[in-house]
């Protein structure tokens, strides 16, 4: 690559912002890992750290989900989206100062939010548990970042847009819309009775489907062809897949309310739309895997791509599992069980995070000009793969056991139903330890290339930080 190639210039313009967001994302990932371990340990031994009110199970569990989604997920989304949009628009990232300022506000808001949860100011709304005081800061900082991302997109060189741009832009724009709807319905014009639950459930699930999912899909649509040097196979389907997700996902998520004290049409629509979700799932799966399997050797040899394909495979398989679990006959067993944990971790870890890892390993060497040691990356990949699979299997099998035993009215609750799923909690605790180490390695990998050690490194790299 010559010094003046346009990609190089764009990467240079994204350098400060990308480094900031991805290194703070890394810190959140570690915080979430620590909280995840604490929560898992408390399920295997309820007396673990039981004397600290700050760390009672309900709070830790909720703090972990929020740190994971907003801390790690949010920062990673900003980093990946800004860089991919800049690359696709062939436009430089502008307003780095404002982006970083907004990023600092976002991170401070989440920090105070999590402390608020631990200190007993939880709001009780799904995925909006952070105290309402931090919501304005989150929204404002998010809108600043979205605005600057749209500026990049508006200054694009080619007018025609492609799949990764649709998904990334849609995710950027959907989040504030969802957030405002939830804010209005839950706090400003508080809904009465179980309407609250309909709304907070709709928000919590849509957050996964309309924010994390499209970002990961968009990144996959960008990375797979970029690394393989091929076009997406059956690309003409992508637009159908995109609009299917846009039209169906916001309807399908409410199937989790099956049987509850809400009008029956709500979960019924959710179930029908969940079944219809097989179309977008099939489209994304075909696009990704038909392309990737044309060159399996290259997928295997490229570590970023291995992460991405793990993510897309996990998306396909578990989305189909999700469709099956939304059928009322199956939901009767699986509803309210730890299969919820399976869904959450599969989406946020097995799918979204794995693709983000791939994107970071692909982007970071280009942006900083420094390579990450192969052995360290491989260690991260294999521990993550093993940890995620172990975690998901434990939650899946444990969840089915949970559901089947709970359905036997004569079995006593704690001494029989819950005692039977205890071994699975032991496995998840072990899996969270493995994942914790894995994430630590990831963060070290990232931090080492972003902040090279001034004592071991010669003069050539250390002066470049200010782009």
């Amino acid at each position: 690559m010559s010094q003046d190639s346009p990609d190089k210039i764009i990467d240079k313009s994204a350098r400060l912002v990308f480094s900031f967001f991805i290194s703070s994302a890394g810190l959140w990932l570690l915080a979430a890992a620590l909280l995840a371990y604490t929560a898992a340990a408390k399920l295997t031994d309820p007396f673990f750290l039981a004397n600290f009110e700050l760390l009672t199970y309900g709070k830790v569990k909720v703090a972990q989900a929020n740190a994971f989604v907003y801390g790690w997920g949010g920062n990673a989304i900003f980093a990946v989206t800004l860089w991919i949009l800049a690359r696709l628009s062939q436009a430089e990232v502008r307003g780095s100062v404002f982006l970083i300022l907004a990023g600092v506000i976002w991170n401070l808001a989440i920090t105070f939010g999590l402390l608020g949860i631990l200190d007993g100011h939880m709001s009780g709304h799904e995925m909006l548990e952070m105290p309402t005081e931090v919501w304005p800061a989150m929204l404002i900082s998010y809108l600043i970042i979205t605005f600057l991302a749209l500026v990049i997109h508006r200054s694009r060189q080619v007018r025609e847009t492609i799949a990764p741009q649709w998904f990334l832009l849609a995710a950027l724009l959907w989040f504030p819309a969802l957030f405002l709807i939830a804010w209005n319905g839950l706090e400003l014009n508080t809904a009465r009775g179980t309407l609250q639950t309909v709304l907070s459930m709709w928000f919590g699930q849509s957050l996964i489907w309309l924010w994390l999912t499209p970002v990961a899909l968009g990144a996959a649509y960008y990375l797979i062809p970029a690394i393989l040097g091929r076009t997406i196979d059956k690309y003409y389907l992508a637009i159908f897949g995109f609009w299917c997700i846009a039209a169906l996902a916001p309807w399908s998520v409410v199937h989790h309310l099956e049987g509850g004290p809400v009008p029956m049409w709500i979960p019924a629509i959710g179930t029908v739309m969940s079944i219809a979700m097989v179309f977008p799932i099939a489209v994304a799966s075909t696009n990704f895997h038909a392309t990737a399997f044309l060159d399996v050797g290259k997928v295997w040899n490229s570590l970023p791509l291995r992460f991405v394909i793990f993510g897309t495979l996990s998306y396909t398989i578990s989305s189909y599992i999700g469709v099956v679990f939304s059928l009322p006959a199956v939901a009767k067993i699986t509803q309210f069980t730890i299969i919820n944990e399976f869904h959450f971790n599969q989406r946020v870890y097995g799918f979204f995070s794995m693709i983000v890892f791939g994107a970071v390993y692909f982007a970071l060497p280009k942006i900083t000009g420094r390579e990450i040691p192969v052995a360290a990356k491989n260690f991260h990949f294999w521990t993550s793969t093993f940890g995620v699979l172990l975690l998901l299997l434990a939650y899946l099998i444990g969840g089915l056991t949970h559901g089947v035993l709970a359905g036997q009215p004569t079995l006593p609750w704690s001494s029989s139903v819950i005692a039977s799923i205890q071994p699975y909690f032991m496995i998840t605790k072990f899996a969270f330890v493995i994942l914790g180490f894995s994430q630590l390695v990831f963060v070290i990998n990232v931090w080492k290339v972003i902040f090279p050690n001034p004592f071991t490194c010669c003069a050539n790299a250390s002066k470049e930080v200010n782009a």
């Binding site: 199970y57 709001s123 309407l195 459930m201």
Partner: protein, 377 residues
Amino acid sequence: MNNLAKFTIGIFLTLGFAWLAFVVGARSQYGDLTPTAQVLNEDGSVPADAELFPLPMSGLAKQGAEEYAALGCVTCHTQQVRRVEAGFDVDRGWGKRPSVPRDYVHQEHVLLGNSRIGPDLANVGLRGYDESWFHQHLFEPQSLFPQSLCPPSHFLYTEVDEGNDVVIEINSTDESKSSRFVKPSVRATRLVAYMLSLKQDYELPEVAFVESAEEVDLEKTEIVATAAEPTGQLPEWLRDQMEAGKEVYMKAATGGGMCFTCHQVNGQGLAGQFPPLAGSDWVLGNKDRLIKISMYGLMGEIEVNGVKYNNVMAPPGIPPGSLTDEQIANVLTYIRNDWGNSASAISAEEVARVRASLDGRPAMQMFTAAELTPPVQ
């Protein structure tokens, strides 16, 4: 797709449709639900003198709900009884009927929850636990359920010496440790008030109790109709006898009756296998044959409320046939007066008289239905 403005409108439209349905539509459908009477007038109006349900929550319970939310209890506990066809909740005894939207109109924070590592709490105030039981559970769930995963909340209590009148005694399951005495904080008191306030023990125009909903034929509706008065109005001696009987019914250890394993906690039995006790002509009818079955068991075909069953009921009790006269009297009185049943109580003397009349019958020789019909009066 190339014009950002059009694209934005498109993706907001798709989101907007769902918003219209779930937020605007649902709000206009049931956003203004109000408390109502258990039974409405024929023209659909609320009777003038009727008590309106759900009852408002006490101030203390409302504060308890805030504590419940702040501690994240909703992470493991739901507060919703699902419809019968959607889950096992009613079978498990977690509620007399499915929850409906109207049950929640008084709650500022609706905490339905979506995970059940702990049991459902929608009706926890109906399970017969008293305040000190809740305090003991809150302080250290493991002192009541050794395998519970519920986090102990020692931080809501101060340990004190015995003697003070507001202290709660915590019995340890570990024999080697002596009991401890704790004083609940204000927050613990609020939480317990909240727990005790959680009950959906009233019928609404849109939902009836499940037991009576299932019984459609006339004969049984009559039985249920006579039993509508709540147990709270029973004379004290009868309540005591029923309580003792319920213990026998539910106890699955030596000295218990273990009746619930077949006839179920709700007395409904299992379709095709074990006959129901609720509304059963055998339970509410002749006393003597009921006492006989309780001593010696029953085998072979039996017709209950027009449905045939063919199974074996070993002589009740652990070990089999070990129930005392008093226990039999209590448990029979209990099954004749719960789940909507209402029939005369049975005394230990009556049981003793029947036992004497059967003198010489080999122990463990189960009765057959044929032997007991026509009714021996």
